[in-house]
Amino acid sequence: MEILMSILIGVLVTAGTYLVMSRSLLRIILGTAVIGHGALLLLLTTAGLKEGAPPITNIEALSYADPLPQALILTAIVINFATTGFFLVLAYRAYKELGTDDMDKLRGIDDE
């Protein structure tokens, strides 16, 4: 399972990096979201995957998943949600104001 997860994380981060490198602003935002998912899955995986144990458990259970990474991931998801939302609005405003979503054209003129 860990190996499968590692491959998945690798694919996500690769795809995200590819998207971030592209010129269109919307693809960049999607790329950051995909990298974010990769990072969260990594957090889940390195903290230890366990089979057959519920994350919320009664005291009698013999083995149970570590609840801390789940709490961390929930927090990180909320933060990602906020940043992605802000970035989308910002990109939209920038597109309306500057008339382009091409990063090459957003380079800016040097002031000298």
Binding site: T46, A47, L72
Partner: protein, 494 residues
């Protein structure tokens, strides 16, 4: 239980929320935001005195003991930075009252200033890595809003890059946290420190430590400074001053904290790397500062130089050098805010930030000119101003430990920094006065007060170094001797 610590974060947070409801009552917003910061300043001063007398204070939120719960740690180093943050915040607010404009004030400018300060102070106070990430995000989200607020073309363009760089580095932070949690099973600084010293800092841990260093370097503009000049040049100067004084310092603080408490065991790799990063940053920043002819760019590159100097001082890792670094860190927060505010007045008066188009402002604005001169000297480290003692201690430590390159580069870049700011002074204040009072784009009424406060502090920190030194030494002691920190957070061991 020391609930007083949470008030440092709770007061600005609640004020920020309250200001949302007072959206259209601008004078009420101003009064509330200043009052909140004054209250936080008083509380911070009280805590500093208590920490000096009784040692490090901690607060376990919700009553959960570390390492299980969230812990806030008020040691001398963190508290000094919190206190400095509040003073800088007050000065930038006072400047913002006059310059920021009603449009921005209506769109929650003061709210986000309060949230930004919550993020900054929270980063200083938190006792675990994940909450450092959370407070970083609080700070960054507020800074995204502040940098884009107003929606001018240049602001939108630069804020996209700023946001992108920071989101990517936050993701890397998360990845580093994941690796560390997988290896150590904890994220509390003190608990991590205990586990690392028990298990030994092997190659794998050092690699993750360097990964974490990369993340903090991005935030602190250590070598990876490419985003800084552009994004600090976009927003109004009141906001840029706050950013220059505070944001990179949080990254520096994190490097200080993590590499003194958790990963101090392989200095021949990590601290050596930090030293070289610091040296390179100093050189590149100084070249940038000398080369540019735009006021905003010169000031922004000066931020980069200072980052390099502080990290190099930390990398020497002796009590003297660390004390010098801490002193310089606090001095730099004041003096960068001062320079940016004065630069803001100069840009406001002339309507341009190109040095070649300014001249002779000393005729009508003598106090502005002299304050700028004092700030320039303090920045370069001329005695008896505040920059001198920090630089002296760092150089003393570096030479004592045989880090001659740090000392040499530190001295040469000081000269280059002095040249770059004196260039602003000569071009802006000497020569023929081309600007009549009627032509000025803004009045200096009220904008010089915050600069005056900061100038007095800069002079006072230099002249009263003996008094300040008591606190600085205490702060350096905690960094140099992490067991103090660990014992304060986890008095019963693991």
């Amino acid at each position: 239980m020391n609930n007083i610590i949470i008030l440092l974060l709770l007061i600005p947070l609640l004020t920020g929320v309250l200001l949302i409801f007072l959206r259209n009552r601008i004078s009420a917003q101003r009064w509330l935001s200043i009052l909140s910061l004054l209250a936080v300043g008083v509380i911070a001063a009280i805590i500093i005195q208590r920490v000096l007398n009784e040692g490090t204070m901690t607060l376990n939120l919700g009553g959960w003991e570390p390492p299980y719960g969230i812990v806030l740690v008020a040691d001398m180093f963190a508290m000094l930075l919190v206190f400095t943050t509040v003073i800088v915040g007050i000065c930038c607010l006072l400047y913002g009252f006059r310059t920021i404009g009603e449009e921005r004030e209506r769109y929650y400018f003061y709210t986000f200033i309060q949230f930004l300060l919550v993020g900054v102070m929270g980063s200083f106070l938190t006792g675990d890595l994940f909450n450092l990430f959370v407070f970083f995000e609080v700070m960054l989200l507020s800074s995204y809003v502040l940098i884009a607020l107003g929606g001018k073309k240049v602001q939108l363009r630069e804020s996209i890059k700023y946001v992108l760089v920071n989101i990517v580095s936050s993701m890397m932070f998360l990845i580093a946290i994941a690796y560390l949690y997988g290896m150590l099973g904890t994220l509390n600084f003190a608990h991590m420190a205990i586990r690392v010293s028990e298990a030994g800092q092997d190659g794998l841990l050092t690699t993750v430590a360097i990964f974490l260093m990369l993340v903090f370097s991005l935030k602190a503009a250590l070598l990876m400074y490419f985003w800084l000049p552009g994004s600090y040049g976009a927003p109004p100067m009141a906001i840029a001053a706050l950013f220059a004084a505070l944001l990179t310092k949080v990254g520096i603080y994190s490097i200080f904290r993590v590499f003194s408490v958790v990963f101090p065991h392989q200095p021949e790799i990590t601290h050596q790397l930090l030293a070289w990063l610091g040296i390179l940053t100093m050189i590149i920043g100084a070249i940038g500062a000398v080369a540019h002819w735009s006021l905003r760019k010169i000031l922004a590159y000066n931020v980069v130089v200072a980052v390099g100097f502080m990290i190099a001082g930390f990398a020497v890792f002796t009590t003297t050098a660390i004390a010098g670094s801490v002193f310089y860190l606090i001095h730099d927060m004041f003096v960068k805010a001062l320079l940016f505010l004065l630069g803001g007045v100069m840009i406001g008066l002339t309507g341009t930030d190109k040095l070649r188009e300014m001249s002779g402002m000393i005729r009508n604005h003598a106090s502005l000119g002299w304050m700028f001169f004092i700030a320039a000297l303090a920045l370069a480290g001329v005695p008896p101003l505040s920059g001198f003692i920090g630089k002296l201690l760092v150089l003393q430590g570096a030479i004592g430990e045989g880090f001659y390159i740090i000392a040499a580069v530190g001295l040469i870049t000081s000269l280059m920094v002095l040249y770059s700011v004196i260039k602003i002074f000569i071009n802006g204040f000497w020569g023929e006065n081309q600007l009549t009072v009627e032509d000025e784009k803004m009045s200096t009424k009220g904008t010089l007060l915050p600069s005056a406060i900061l100038t007095v502090i800069v002079i006072g920190m230099g002249l009263g170094a003996e008094f300040v030194n008591v606190y600085i030494m205490e702060a350096a002691e905690v960094i140099n001797n992490p067991s103090l920190y660990i014992d304060a957070v986890m008095p019963n061991g693991e």
